[in-house]
């Protein structure tokens, strides 16, 4: 009989491939959407819990697969000479390998239940910032009811302050998931769900819908801009202003928050030169004239549609089409030419606009900051 270790050698190529596959699996970085790179209190508690479970899983894996391998190599009988022991069972063994996993499961269950009661209950933070997220085929609407802001696909949150997100759906079931901010929560028509977390890092974090919701589910993405309190407040102030070029070219009104303190806002000069103003007015006319207003809203104009994203500050967003396209004039034009080519099944119809109208509209929309 050959030594068991020498027999193991025959399995080495296989082991090598499996280990290599495991190592290679880690490649590809830097994983901006990874649940293993927590950036909030919520994500951190899930991560810590997962690592604890993973630790036990590795131990069980090594022990049980090890026992299997030893059995396979030690009791292998190539010549058919060894006589098998005819045992039928052993009650002590049975009881012990029933109890051993039970103990490990208790060690997993205790932190699990503790974490469930931590993350599955409403937040008790009185200072939490309320945000309403509405899932729609296939984009996200974000509303800040306390601040009077409506935006789409781009959620801004202040670092270090709890955000309390209320989730509803306008059509089918979606799931709200920013892996680096924590676990997912389904967005269900007819139910209001809730999720809260406190970001602890500044940055732009990608997220996307995690429940199959129809044709372009894979393209229902979003971004979270986690920023310092000052940057967040600046963003709030900007979003609260009526957009430039919304027909009313008077200097924008200053929001209350920024106007506090000794700094008295100076009346701003009209930022629009005559040429730009012409483009904007033409764009405004084109926007009002090509049916856009049936679905979209631009605060301060007659456009008050509610089916599509609010475009009041579209020019200030990093991306368009639910995180699929960068917000550049070229991509905006591409979207306007044929939305269905970018996002199959999108509710926005192909408007058959001529290139001049598209140019006008793009200039107009990009100016809405």
């Amino acid at each position: 009989m050959r030594h068991p270790w020498r027999r193991l050698k025959s399995a080495l190529p296989i082991l090598a491939i499996v280990v290599l596959a495991g190592l290679l699996s880690g490649c590809g970085g830097p994983f901006p959407q990874s649940g293993l790179r927590p950036a909030s209190d919520f994500a951190r508690s899930l991560d810590e819990l997962f690592r604890g479970i993973f630790f036990w899983a590795v131990i069980v894996f090594v022990l049980v697969e090890g026992a299997l391998l030893v059995a396979v190599f030690r009791f292998r009988d190539r010549q058919g000479k060894r006589a098998a022991e005819h045992v039928h069972g052993n009650t002590i063994l049975e009881i012990s390998w029933t109890i051993a996993p039970a103990i490990i499961l208790v060690l997993i269950a205790v932190p699990t239940i503790r974490t469930i009661w931590e993350v599955d209950r409403p937040t008790t933070d009185p200072d939490a910032l309320l945000i309403e997220a509405v899932g729609r085929q296939w984009w996200w609407e974000f509303r800040y009811p306390e601040l009077g802001i409506v935006t789409a696909n781009e959620i801004h949150v202040p670092v270090g302050r709890t955000v309390d997100i209320r989730l509803t759906s306008a059509d089918v079931i979606h799931s709200f998931w920013f892996p680096r901010a924590g676990g997912k929560r389904d967005v269900i028509p007819g139910h209001e769900n809730q999720l809260w977390f406190k970001m602890d890092s500044v940055g732009v974090f990608p997220g996307q819908c995690a429940e199959f919701c129809g044709m372009s589910h894979a393209l229902m993405k979003m971004e979270m801009v986690s920023e310092s309190v000052e940057d967040f407040e600046a963003w709030v102030a900007q979003q609260q202003r009526p957009a430039l070029g919304t027909g009313d070219t008077a200097p924008p009104a200053q929001p209350q928050e920024v106007a506090e303190g000794e700094e008295v806002p100076e009346p701003q000069a009209d930022p629009l030169d005559a040429g730009l103003r012409a483009v904007l007015e033409a764009g405004n006319q084109a926007f009002l004239g090509s049916g856009c207003i049936a679905c979209h809203r631009i605060a301060g104009t007659v456009a008050a549609g509610v089916l599509g994203p609010d475009l009041t500050h579209i020019g200030s967003r990093r991306t368009i089409a639910a995180g699929i396209l960068e917000n550049t004039p070229e991509e905006m034009a591409r979207w306007l030419r044929d939305p269905g080519a970018v996002k199959p099944g999108a509710l926005m119809p192909t408007l058959n606009l001529d290139e001049d109208t598209i140019r006008t509209l793009v200039a107009y929309l990009e100016s809405l900051k």
Partner: protein, 609 residues
């Protein structure tokens, strides 16, 4: 060791029993012989396994590179929906049914199942239902709302057209087949066991068939209720799942998963049964802890009804619900672990003969452990908030259902192929099949754990560049292509062995259970003389069986005559479904007419001519 090895002239009896499979196409369509029905189940199931596999390969090719435009999202969504639906209902379940059919009567020493015509009916309902479901590709597209069909995406508002109608009706038809088969096997196992075979002497595979059959009749009504409600919503404008009219979309999820989780064990338990047969045979040692293996199977099935909401940890059940379902889910790990430990203990101290069935059984245990451990990770409701609906779950289910169930089913195929066909499968080709399959399986699915944890959601037709998903997806795609190739090697093995394979003889492996006491393939009446059983491993008993079950001087048993009615009845059911999809009342009524006529024909046709 086995009595049949000593007392039988293999070559001679093989010629005598050629009649088992002779006869033209008509004899197969009208057959009520459990062995022929088993073979047809296997052939159709394997065909749909290839179809589902092809769908999987198209999915993987699309995901091989970021933002690929090879397959548009409309087709992709049909492919992943049909891949899941096909593998669950048209491949794995009927492949298990093939073994139920062929092996259970042989293992309990019976001449057939309790209701041979009902058995044929189950087969034809499955075959016609499967063709009906897949015909949707030709009529406006296949179902595209996922195999789980979450409401309200399946409503007429969000899924107009006939795609979902095909799914709703197809699954109801397949449910009829499963319930009829399950009742048949329960009655068979309770009533037709050979004298002396008490429940606690039944072979493990028969035991797991028995448990699975109960799961089927208890789980399918839940999805049937859901499907009927959905059919009413879609056809008659009711609002069970319409939130705008006071319906609740979560009702569907509860109904579906009360079926859906036991369904996982419906897929798994037959495989556990197969492995529990193969390991003792090739360890030359009785199964360690037989009663514990039996009870743990029952316990898994029982607990399987109390864990459905672990598929719903992200829906916001609240802390109490999530705690309860986390705890019940974790409990399942205990009986599952008991089974694994008992298999290892069976091998321990044994005399392991590494033939292909044992290769696949050991491969099964090794992969199933990984799937079980990732399952424990999901059972933690909080940790699962990151994992659910990500590729981590895709990896998990494939370690359980491919690394687990498919490996176990291949173990069963290599183990019983000689019994079914009278020919041995080639060990050499088998090894190539096994090693290629287990390596490429891991290459395909192991990286998906990382993909999920790094934030890739499942059921997405593409992913954007820059998220770090490219390399692992490419690995997975390459693995899947090799995996597909390994299945072709298996097919080659089957064709090669059917033509040139070694003759098997009654008992090529030295098995302990009754099926090895008769010829391969068995004569159409199985046992000429009813066996009498005195122990769990009757063929390993001192002196073997005490009756000659093949005694040529005994009178030849009468067997039931063939009948076409089960096939016609099945056709009538599907005809009615075709009418329902086409919204043609006339065809529905015609189908109903065929059903009624076939029931009459069936009832008045004498059992034996």
């Amino acid at each position: 060791m086995s009595v049949s090895e000593a007392s039988h002239d293999t070559a001679g009896t093989a010629a005598v029993h050629e009649g088992t499979y002779s006869g033209g196409l008509w004899s197969w369509v009208t057959t009520v012989d459990h062995k022929r029905i088993g073979i047809m189940y296997a052939v159709f199931a394997f065909f749909f396994f290839l179809v589902g596999g092809l769908e999987a390969l198209l999915i993987r090719i699309q995901l091989g590179s970021p933002e690929s435009t090879l397959i548009d999202p409309d087709l992709y969504n049909q492919l992943f929906t049909m891949h899941g639906t096909t593998m669950v209902f048209l491949a794995v379940m009927p492949l298990s049914a093939a073994f139920f059919n062929f092996m259970v009567p042989l293992q309990i020493g019976a001449r057939d199942v309790a209701f041979p015509r009902l058995n044929a009916f189950s087969l034809w309902v499955f075959v016609f239902g499967a063709l009906f479901l897949n015909s949707s590709f030709l009529f406006g597209g296949a179902p595209d709302a996922g195999w789980f069909g979450y409401a309200n995406l399946t409503s007429t508002q969000y899924s107009p057209g006939v795609r979902i109608d095909f799914w709703v009706l197809g699954l109801q038809i397949l449910g009829v087949s499963s319930i009829a088969a399950a009742l048949n096997f329960i009655v068979t196992i309770i009533n037709l066991r050979a004298p002396g075979m008490s429940l606690m002497r039944m072979p493990l595979f028969t035991w797991m068939t028995f448990v699975t059959s109960f799961l089927l009749i208890l789980a399918f009504p839940a999805i049937t209720v859901g499907l009927v409600l959905l059919m009413f919503d879609r056809t008659f404008g009711t609002s069970f799942f319409n939130p705008a009219a006071g319906g609740d979309v979560l009702l569907w999820q509860h109904l579906f998963w009360i079926f859906g989780h036991p369904e996982v064990y419906i897929l798994l338990l037959p495989g556990l049964g197969i492995v529990s047969e193969v390991i003792p045979t090739f360890s030359r040692k009785p199964l360690f802890g037989y009663p514990f293996v039996v009870y743990s199977g029952i316990l898994i099935a029982f607990l399987g009804f109390g864990v459905w909401a672990h598929h719903m940890f992200a829906v916001g059940l609240g802390p109490i619900g999530n705690t309860v379902f986390s705890a019940t889910t974790m409990l399942i790990a205990i009986p599952t672990g008991v089974k694994i430990f008992n298999w290892i203990a069976t091998m321990w101290g044994g005399s392991l003969r590494f033939k292909m069935p044992l290769y696949f059984a050991v491969g099964f245990i090794a992969m199933f452990i990984i799937g079980g451990l990732s399952g424990v990770m999901h059972s933690s409701a909080a940790a699962d908030l990151q994992q659910t609906d990500s590729y981590f779950v895709v990896a998990h289910i494939h370690y359980v259902l491919f690394g687990g169930v498919i490996f176990a089913l291949f173990s069963g195929i290599y183990y019983w192929f000689p019994k079914i066909t009278g020919k041995m499968l080639s060990e050499g080709i088998g090894k190539a099949h096994f090693w290629l399959m287990i390596i490429s399986f891991n290459l395909t699915f192991f990286p998906q754990h990382y993909l999920g944890m790094h934030g890739m959601p499942r059921r997405t037709f593409t992913y954007q560049e820059g998220l770090g998903f490219e390399a692992m997806n490419l690995m997975s795609t390459i693995g899947s292509l090799v995996l597909g190739f390994s299945i072709l090697i298996f097919l080659w093995n089957v064709f090669h062995s059917l033509r040139k394979g070694e003759s098997a003889g009654p008992d090529p492996w030295g098995g302990a259970t009754l099926e090895w006491a008769i010829d391969s393939p068995p004569p159409h009446y199985n046992f000429r003389v009813e066996p009498v059983v005195h122990s769990r491993d009757p063929l390993w008993a001192e002196g073997g069986l005490d009756v000659d079950v093949n005694d040529p001087t005994a009178p030849e048993p009468h067997m039931p005559s063939p009948s076409l009615w089960p096939c016609i009845l099945a056709f009538g059911l599907v005809l009615a479904a075709i009418g329902a999809v086409a919204k043609a009342l006339l065809i529905v009524l015609l189908g109903a007419g065929v059903v009624v006529a076939a029931i009459y024909g069936w009832a008045f046709q004498p059992l034996e001519r």
